[in-house]
Amino acid sequence: MIHALLWVCLLAQTQSAEPPMAPELLTLLESAQDAENRRDFDQAIAEFRKATDLAPSVGIVFFRLGEAYMKKRDYAGAIPPLNRAAELSPDSLAVHQLLGFALLAEGYAARAIPHLELVHENGALGIAQLEAGKPAEAVASLEAALAKSPDDPDLLYYLSRASTSLSAESLDRLLSAFPDTARGHQAVGQNFFVMKMFLEAAKEYQEALALRPDLPGLRLELGQVYAASSEWEKAEEQFRGEAKLQPGNAEAAYRLGDALLKQGKMKEAAEQLRRSDSLHPDMPETLYSLGRALAASDPRTAEHALGRVIEMEKESALAGQAYLALAGIHRKQGETEQAAREMQQYRRIQALNDRHAPTKH
């Protein structure tokens, strides 16, 4: 049905500018159409090709030949007749749409872009722009396409790729143009961090800090580098600096609290974790660490914090850890039955998570 409507529509578009067709040509086109309906695309292509010989200046005939190739999934074969159709019928949106698809399918992304732009085919256009090395344009096109089809996994995939590519491009520009700026060192530091080259990462962040000691976020990131290499005293120093720089930053308070916790400074850790919780309530990681920090000194408050983790996390690995910590608190207080109940929950969640864990190889 859609195909028939398109055919009528295309016919109307192309015929408007072209002379009336000879009866012999119409017979060939009908025969080709019949073959196409039978999904005998080779026959249809042969008939359409004869038709192009009879009418070398009729755009619709070249379009139909190109379309038959497309249906056969022979995109390379489709490009020459569609190119000719575009020359003969430069205003035909259908021709540009099909030609854009064919070029993109064959890897000619840059050549596909003007055709897809003409027909506002944002999804395909975004993909072509991404493949042609224009990630910024690709992000805009793909976001426009996603506004119409928000749940399209292909579009989401390409948007993610385009965003990554855009990020890399921006980073390349930053590093080539401004390598010795704080942001330059920060960016290099981030790369080293991802590659687990912690010593190198720390060095870059230190250079960034020397240039702009008040740049928000730098100390937080440097602290995380130290934390990843278990250098908790150095991590604490950086997180403390960030928390001073950004007293309203819940993450800085959380990270500082966690670094203190790792060093066994439970009282001060609890203070920072409470502060983080007040700045950004209901963060499960903050509450879990708070529960651990208070387990010995204030078991009831610790229980409450861990209980909140379980409420929020339900059956995640963190919820399992919270049950385990609760069991420890009860065990220490001689509450054997409660400890056993929490351990039962811990085991249940462990079994669930083991089942869902990806297998090796």
Partner: protein, 548 residues
Amino acid sequence: MARTGLLSLLCAFSLLAQVAKPKSGPVFQVSSLKGVDFVLRNSPTSRKYLMETMPGGVALLDYNNDGLLDIFLVNGGHVRDPMRIPSSFDRHDPLYWNRLYRQNKDGSFTDVTEQAGLANAGDTNYGMGVAVGDYDNDGYPDIYVTNYGRNILYHNNGDGTFTDVTAKAGVAAGGWSVSSGFLDYDNDGKLDLFVTRYLDWSVEKSKTCGSERPTYCPPGEFPATTNILYHNRGDGTFEDVSVASGIAAKKGHGLGVAFADYDGDGYTDIFVANDATEQFLFHNNGNGTFTERALDSGAALTSNGKMLSGMGVVFQDYDNDGLPDLLVTQLPHEPYVVFHNDGRGTFSAQELETGFGALSGKTSGWGVGLEDFNNDGWKDAFVVQGHVFDNVEMYDSSLRYREPPLLALNDNGHFEKADAGSDVPVAGRGASFGDLNNDGWMDVVTTSLGDHPQLYLNRGGKSHWLTITLRGKRSNRDGYGARVQVNGQVRFATAAGSYLSSNDKRLHFGLASAETADIEIKWPSGVHQILRSVKADQFLLIEELVQQ
């Protein structure tokens, strides 16, 4: 807590309070051992056979009863690259022998391996660890060597020689044995034997991990296996009771082992440090069977619920509350874990509270001891360190294959880093603890891959001490399993613990400023023995009092 225990504890605290805190400065003088030319030959290959990064054990024992500690060192073997099947490790070649060094009166050592009959370790055996115990109660310490291959029990003939009695004793085990130890689990006065095993591994099953940078595979790449418990029949033979006792019911990746009666029921329990699986705490049911209780007791996981890559372990009371605690060493990115014994048969992971969060986390710990190195009345921690991967720097630039050891002094239950006397990094593995020069101050001998053993000779100080040798009568002659309390401090008599290694069986106590000590012993036989106002600064032999 029992009334007597509480009184002793109060007494101990009042004595300890009089002592000034230790001054900073190196605790040990670090050197090679004079006369010891041993090199731990692990034979690293491009194939990264897992065993080549795991040896080797060291034992401090007085094999000839001359009052001086001697040293037994376990060698690895020659590993071909690639290995042939069947594999041979060229242990007939003196380069790869285990070695026994007798201590001379001047503190030097003489290699007595060949004359002692210990030269042939078996070509098909790649050496791992050592346990020491007088299994036949004849007064001379016997040696058990673990291997990838077959283990060997050497009976001490009492004349400076040993005889391989493995076949008769029936303790060859097989597979890949790691740490081992003698204990009397049924309190029958005869030492039994526990052996940890690491993996179900063979050359055929071996694989290399890492794509561009080949390295050793994690244990999870190979099937887990069971540990072994041998019951001593008392006639020179042992019975494998692994299945009957319940020990074989649990499969793991066992590396370290340590013994103590953690719940005070009079029976020795067993803790196995497992790599990348839950730790095992085998509770001794007192009827020849064990129940694995680590998870429910709180001694299986770190405080945030993670698996440990458990390697070395020591089972002693670090906070002077009279209950044995656990210190388990492991790989980086998680601290070494202290499982504090909370009483009632339960533990809590307190690696953060005790300071190990700040002390470890970047390092890989193997051999470990809790000994009072500064004689202040608190047991300190010593850990020999070094990563598993000899190319770890390529994976994580903040880590190192070779690391210096960790010495952490105990300040009222909190550990703080101290100067061990050497920052020289080594690929440390085994560690044995004992008073090598009989000066009342604990020393350490460590092993490291591809290297000579190192001696950490304690520089000493002014505090008082007491060192006790137990002689069981109804109990096993070594007194293993006895609970000995001195001025409120408790030690559980054992030579096992650490990693692959066996410690000086004498029990050492730092007495701080106390010039006398009250001693209370609970022997495995049930005999309760008390000695009052014993003079400090002496080596004391205590025989089990048995009513005629």
